[in-house]
């Protein structure tokens, strides 16, 4: 199926189903219930799930396969966003040219940076990529937004103004990013009893790209090219001795993953036409590293899970304030209610970073393979011992 083996095919089918049904899956609680706080099925967050999923999948092609840890990947996402917004400003709000241009610009950028950075390996490579990304951030934040030559609009972020030319924009087209007239923001709501589900054009548009990106990643993982990349990871020296020049392969992987980042950046701009310099800051680069490792580096689905978890924490847990806590525990007697609120208070709302940090530590201690390993363990529990043995035999030809 799709030219994939059975296992990958099943995984891909599951991902397709998850993507299509996400508006249901992430809205398990009725709108008016106290648990609705945990619903994540609103367009903006769903879009972020898939877009950062793309970003992490791309990062994983470089890091998971070759072991080269880029600490400046957010730069490609950033330039992708800027490129897309410039298309919006100069030509049209149609997202297709914007996304194509974003990917192209990110590709050019990653060829340049990759060509230089890949002259070194290990931590030296990481610091080179970090240095390039930090330089891009610093320049975008201030120098490149000076009034004479305003390429990035600095602190505020690049956005579309009424005075912009928008050459191919005409009456009748929506004044926001759209796909041939179909606005990215259009949402259809369906209510079912107490539940409300949102079907958003932008989400499905990005979701489609995520599926394509995911499919492509599977193909790369299973291709001779992917094999070559793994060989680089496990023993670069041996590769060189066999007479193979590893550099074109790593550069190709670097550029592919840079293009993924550019695609993610372009999509972010397409969902919300504003590109800020913080997207290129080192913490953003660090975030994608964490997403990938948290989910499970080198696995297919891991990065997507990692991206989802981090974005969920950022958007859902940060919004739980004391008021919400009091509502949850209002059924308890007063004294107990206050105790519960005091206990949970440091971990939610403004303390969401603390919870995130603790999750990192706990996951890496107890699930060395990331969230994917957690999933595998649960699956094994269900499948019983026989399956466990079978699993072992399939795992005897590991990825590296």
């Amino acid at each position: 199926m799709f030219g994939l083996n059975k296992k990958d095919g099943t995984l891909f089918l599951i991902v397709i189903a998850m993507t299509l049904l996400a508006p249901f899956i992430f809205n398990p609680f009725p709108t008016d219930s106290a648990m609705a706080q945990f619903n994540a099925g609103y367009p903006d967050l769903l879009q972020r799930f898939v877009i950062f999923g793309i970003f992490a999948i791309g990062f994983n092609i470089l890091f998971g396969l070759t072991g080269y840890l880029s600490f400046g990947h957010a730069a490609f996402l950033g330039v992708g966003s800027y490129a897309a917004v410039w298309i919006f400003k100069l030509f049209t709000y149609n997202v297709v040219p914007a996304i194509i241009f974003a990917v192209i610009v990110a590709a050019i950028f990653s060829v340049l940076i990759g060509f230089i950075s890949l002259r070194r390996s290990g931590i030296y490579f990481s610091i080179l990529t970090l240095a390039f990304a930090q330089m891009s951030f610093a320049l975008a934040y201030s120098v490149l937004s000076n009034p004479r030559f305003n390429l990035t609009n600095g602190e505020t972020g690049l956005q579309v103004y009424d005075a912009d030319p928008q050459m191919f924009h005409h009456e009748g087209l929506p004044g926001m990013p759209h796909l041939f007239g179909l606005p990215m923001r259009a949402t259809h709501e369906m209510t079912l009893g107490g539940w409300a589900f949102n079907f958003n054009v932008g989400y499905y548009f990005s979701g489609l790209f995520m599926l394509l990106a995911f499919y492509l990643a599977i193909r790369i993982f299973r291709s001779p090219f992917g094999m070559m990349l793994r060989a680089i990871k496990s023993n670069n020296t041996r590769m060189t001795y066999t007479g193979l020049n590893a550099k074109p392969y790593t550069l190709a992987a670097f550029v592919v993953s840079g293009m993924y980042a550019g695609l993610a950046g372009g999509l972010l701009a397409a969902m919300d036409p504003l590109a800020g310099a913080e997207r290129m800051f080192w913490t953003a680069s660090g975030e994608v590293v964490l997403m990938t490792i948290l989910g499970g580096a080198g696995t297919l689905i891991g990065p997507v899970l990692g991206a989802g978890l981090i974005k969920y924490m950022e958007n859902i847990v940060s919004k739980i304030n004391d008021n919400v806590l009091h509502q949850w525990f209002s059924f308890m007697p007063d004294g107990l209610e206050d105790v519960m609120v005091t206990l949970i208070h440091p971990f939610v709302g403004k303390g969401w970073n603390l919870t995130l940090g603790m999750i990192f530590v706990l996951v890496v201690i107890f699930l060395p393979g990331g969230l994917v390993e957690g999933g595998q363990r649960i699956a094994r529990l269900f499948r019983g011992k026989k399956a466990r043995e079978a699993e072992k035999s399939t795992q005897s030809n590991p990825a590296e």
Binding site: E155, T156, M190, L274, E314
Partner: protein
């Protein structure tokens, strides 16, 4: 023509007919069921408070959040009513807004445009917030203001001091109570001339991003207008933590005033460094060296500690004012939280009341009606004296405070003393002032969303 809907509540409710719903095309024109984005349907109305809760401005954000919670209490008729008793508009009855109980959701801007927009979107899309209030930086304010304009809800700007917010980036759905860099310059210049003389030579250190530039431009213009000379303007990177290499050259530059166009942690560090280098003890050109921090906040003053003694700056409001509105607010806030409110807290508190009052007077939550009610609205009793929400650019015009770091503080909150209350006439400018986008700047049209 396709209308798009930003939110779930603004959309046709398809009822329980799931299959019918699924069979429908993915996009459709908005129904007449909702007149505007997030029209409140039940007995409550939800406000969105979007403030920094992590990162360097977390404490300021927390102060804003406390003030907003207090405002919600007062609107719902709980607590002592605060400024509802002193506000000149008597439309608010302490029974919520338009009879609906006020609830709120909070979010974390992280002082990043992207994160702030994500958080605001989740309030609008998920929680059905009818307005967004708060924030602690101009970049974020402009970004969220643009979002609210597109979404069709009202944005009440929190702490944002850049001219652009109500200048070239002004929006029909956005309103700013806080003052701006131009007003700082206009208020400070006469005081500076009086205190330091009209023949000073100023050296500017400026945070290298949009807000820093507009403030530098404003201060340079207003000080040069009264005879000062600008020796040099130096941009410092935002990420700087140690300003010594920028401070050191000041000593030999022949300047006798240092203007620090920095905010937050940048300002705390640059001022601390400047004092370390003994600038305040120097005599240059036969005059005592002086430092000016055009934009002050209580938290910055607390962070800089002893170093701010005698340093002049400007503020939107201060808890030591003696008018009725201030007294009522400080009492209410102080009794609940045990500390006096900061000026960003006061702005956010006032913005919530102003919004609620506008809804009452307009008789609707429709952003266009609310905007109309706010435009040209004159009021008093919220602590800033007589204030006008100007219709042309949605900027509040009110007195500006010139303050100075207290020499002999009597308690831990006594960090700044009021030097002068600059009357509003002196800080008023034309809506098409060149620093505010000139003739090109326009609010656009009000967007009610659906």
């Amino acid at each position: 023509m396709t209308k798009s809907n930003f939110t779930r509540r603004g959309v046709l409710k398809t009822g329980a007919g799931a299959s019918a719903g699924l069979a429908m095309p993915m996009f459709f024109t908005a129904s007449s069921a909702a007149a505007y984005t997030n029209e409140p349907k039940g007995g409550t109305v939800t406000l969105g408070f979007n403030v920094p809760q992590t990162g360097p401005y977390a404490d300021e954000g927390n102060d804003e959040l406390l003030a907003q919670q207090l405002a919600v209490e007062h609107l719902n008729g709980e607590g002592d009513g605060g400024c509802l008793n002193t506000f000149t508009s008597k439309a608010l009855k302490g029974n919520g807004i338009l009879g609906k109980k006020v609830t709120f959701v909070s979010g974390d801007t992280q002082t990043k445009s992207d994160a702030a927009r994500a958080s605001a979107k989740s309030m609008i899309e998920k929680d059905g917030a009818i307005m967004v209030n708060g924030g602690s930086s101009s970049g974020v304010a402009v970004a969220v203001q643009g979002l609210c304009q597109d979404a069709g809800i009202i944005f009440m700007v929190g702490l944002s001091h850049s001219n652009d917010t109500t200048g070239k980036d002004r929006k029909a759905n956005g309103f700013r109570h806080f003052f701006n860099a131009y007003q700082s310059g206009a208020a400070l210049a006469p005081v500076l001339a009086k205190e330091m003389g009209a023949d000073r030579r100023a050296y500017h250190l400026t945070a290298d991003y949009t807000w820093g530039w507009t403030q530098e431009e404003s201060i340079v213009a207003s000080t040069e207008a009264m005879g000062w000379e600008t020796v040099n303007t130096v941009k410092t990177p935002l990420a700087s933590t140690d300003f010594s290499s920028y401070i050191a050259p000041v000593i030999n530059a022949g300047a006798d005033v240092l203007v620090l166009n920095h905010y937050g942690g940048n300002m705390v560090n640059s001022l601390t460094n400047a004092v370390q280098f003994g600038l305040l003890d120097k005599v240059v050109n036969g005059k005592d060296f002086q430092i000016v921090v055009p934009l002050y906040s209580e938290l910055m003053a607390a962070g800089a500690g002893e170093n701010i003694k005698g340093v002049l700056g400007s503020m939107n409001w201060n808890w030591q004012l003696q008018d009725e509105g201030t007294k009522a607010f400080v009492k209410s806030f102080g009794e609940k939280y045990g500390k006096p409110p900061s000026n960003s807290a006061q702005t956010c508190y006032a913005q919530v009341l102003l919004y609620a009052d506008a809804c009452e007077r307009a008789g609707t939550f429709n952003p266009c009606g609310v905007a109309e009610a706010l435009e040209g609205f004159e009021f008093d009793g919220l602590g800033n004296g007589k204030t006008l929400y100007r219709a042309e650019d949605h900027q509040c015009f009110k007195d500006v405070l010139v303050v100075r770091g207290t020499q002999n503080p009597t308690n831990q909150y006594d960090t700044l003393e009021i030097v002068e209350v600059t009357p509003v006439e002196q800080v008023t400018y034309a809506p098409n002032h060149p620093m505010f986008g000139g003739d090109e700047a326009s609010l656009g049209t009000c967007n009610p969303g659906a």
